[in-house]
Subunit: 417 residues, 2 copies
């Protein structure tokens, strides 16, 4: 057991093309969203396990002795990650006092943490440690915030347990794991997702793990080798919606008008394939304005198709109008019916245009971030963070030269121990 | 020759579904638009032929002796209507002084009138008469105003020449011709259209002749037996556009993204077929709210598809927004890129809603009419119009009980001569 202090981060996820169509056997493209979740793991000698989740006001700690009682039966197969250990889940639910009904965010986060912690350390000595996880991602917005959390947990705990080695240094301040290790991280993150979502598709944790772009078709997830980093605005209209109701609505519409709707799904499929082709070209030939023109056209066409499916919303129309008035192209991402949208920024898009667009979108009552898609997956950060007298860590200076784009540590919480 | 005084009218045309897709071998549905063109034919003893076109400020007259010189060669085959008599067209262009270049509206209207007049009367004695034609249709807006003019001319002159008998009385004040006679009217109207447009599709004059709805597929025009009369708003955004440029743009987009665009055309085709089926059901079973729901959904989907084809316009988006805010559904009709849009009104749509919608659209700078689609084609009106001291005819009282819906005679001009 080699518990040392370190940081990991994992990206959120956006659907670039193919939302809803994917339910009907068509290709979807999921991309990493560089609004990231960060985890700090700190070895302690307190005899306690602490988890701090400042975004959801959750600060919990348990004595190791309490936790040990939960794993008396434990066989400790760390690579048996095909399905959940139902007995452990049952014991944990009892332990945190949520034996029935739906779990709230705090309980789900706690449950998945304890599940991974005990699964990975239960066969040996339980380590004292403090985990702090915070995120730039809004929760419940379809941006894979729970997956980014699970990926961070899996990577940090696997690394701390020695199941995977510290990753190879990639850049000055970041490091990534090799393929086999990423697969293990992804498998354990999927377990966390199963606890949180019941029956997740596996796309979100795969994007959080591999980053870049994934092709998702008929349940198969294929990470794509190379994609360019694209500047975007991510806008959360904050209009609440039910993914289940939206998916059912699309299905009803297809059943009602099959001859009209099936071609629309075919067209969306072709949009995903065309987009994948263009992005692939952008990594192996000089990027031109025409590449961006095509990406913009695909965004516009797909947004119309999503409206045809009935998953648009006046707030999303507003997003499209506001951005189009600035020469920018937007579409909803994810379930629609409100929720989030993405706006493609061109390399030459002036920062004044971006700023005024962000301001106008905020004036509409939306949250809006300038960020990027297609960036790296889970990473370990080599940080020289210094703890101040009140426990706050300053990372800003260290990170300015690293690969993260528009990384803001405003969310970095006071660490509690 | 049995020239008597009478009135005929013919409707304009709107494309309900399938514009642009029709160019690529898909079905389009053309419907009659109850903004009509009216013609009054008055027998005179002046030895002159006069034509008054108040909408375009054209008031012309010729001595019969002048016109007789144009037909010295004339063989007078009245049913040879497959193609234009090129020699007559050449003589007429010379006669009105437009031997080369594009013709203005006034010259085209004059040329087609004289062509039909001389073709139908040239083999015998030329009658003295005064024709007055006025219209509720805006010109150059893709609403078949030239075809409605040609249909009125053809019907009136065929009737006056005795080539077709006065039609059977249909209602108290209107009468229609039988199928064979309508075919003759349509053929001659097509000649008028050829003079005006060069290479017309024949759809506009067919709608003007038969009214109701026509299915247009691969150059074939099939009048549909029965369709319900639907209340609509017809809005002219007055944004100028070039049909030629728009058609070329769609073609380019299909060539650029065939896998994305071909399914969209298939979907539009299915929309037209579904709409035809629903309208047919509405004539043979009780009309329900669900029929209207489907018509509204088809309108929305097609409008999105037309945007995908790139023939939308912010003014049309505005039309859709303003009407949707009132619970009404709109799409562009015709070439798009500005031009006109139609908004479906439900039977239960309150007149206050309609009025306030019309007002809002007018406030956007648009022209807007409450009218209907699917109404009758060319008709003869039995009118007891009385000429006042200044020559203006009052028809209002006579027409209130007839089949025309929302018929306004505000355009009725002073008759000259």
């Amino acid at each position: 057991m080699q518990v040392t202090d370190f940081y990991v981060s994992a990206p959120g996820k956006a659907i670039l093309h193919g939302e809803h169509a994917v339910v009907h056997g068509k290709v979807a493209l999921a991309v990493s969203l560089n609004l990231r979740t960060y985890l700090r793991l700190k070895a302690t000698t307190s005899g306690k396990v602490c988890i701090n989740l400042p975004n959801i006001d959750t600060f919990l700690s348990w004595d190791l002795s309490q936790l040990k009682q939960l794993v008396t039966y434990f066989h400790g197969k760390r690579d048996e990650v095909q399905r959940l250990d139902a007995e452990l889940v049952r014991r944990l639910r009892e332990f945190i006092g949520v034996t029935n009904g739906n779990l709230d965010t705090c309980s789900m986060a706690t449950l998945s943490f304890l599940y991974l912690y005990l699964s990975l350390f239960g066969s040996g000595e339980l380590p004292s440690l403090t985990l702090t996880v915070w995120s730039e991602l809004p929760t419940g917005a379809g941006l894979g915030s729970s997956a980014a959390y699970s990926v961070c947990l899996a990577a940090a705990l696997l690394c701390a347990s020695g199941a995977i080695p510290p990753p190879l240094k990639e850049w000055e301040h970041t490091a990534r794991w090799c393929q086999e290790e990423l697969e293990l991280i992804n498998s354990w993150a999927f377990q966390g997702e199963m606890i949180i979502h019941g029956n997740p598709s596996g796309v979100d944790n795969a994007v959080g793990t591999w980053g870049g772009m994934l092709r998702f078709l008929a349940g198969k997830i294929i990470p794509l080798s190379r994609v360019p980093l694209l500047r975007i605005l991510l806008t959360n209209t904050k209009v609440p919606r039910s993914t289940k109701v939206l998916v059912a609505g699309v299905k009803d519409k297809i059943n009602k008008f099959p001859s009209i709707m099936v071609p629309v799904l075919d067209s969306v499929d072709a949009i995903s394939c065309t987009c994948e082709k263009v992005l692939s070209e952008m990594t192996c030939e000089p990027i031109t304005g025409e590449h961006y023109n095509i990406l913009e056209e695909l965004i516009d066409i797909n947004q119309h198709h999503l409206n045809v499916m009935g998953v648009g919303h006046p707030a999303l129309d507003r997003l499209c109008q506001v951005t189009l008035a600035k020469g920018l192209h937007s579409k909803l991402t994810g379930a629609g019916g409100g929720g989030c949208g993405i706006t493609l920024l061109r390399p030459e898009t002036d920062s004044l245009i971006v700023q005024s667009t962000v301001q106008e979108l905020k004036d509409c009552g939306f949250d809006c971030w300038e960020t990027s898609i297609g960036g790296p997956g889970v990473q370990l950060l080599h940080l020289k963070g210094s703890t101040t007298s009140n426990g706050r860590i300053f990372l800003q200076g260290v990170l300015t030269s690293c690969t993260f784009q528009s990384l803001h540590f405003s969310l970095l919480p006071e660490e509690r121990n």
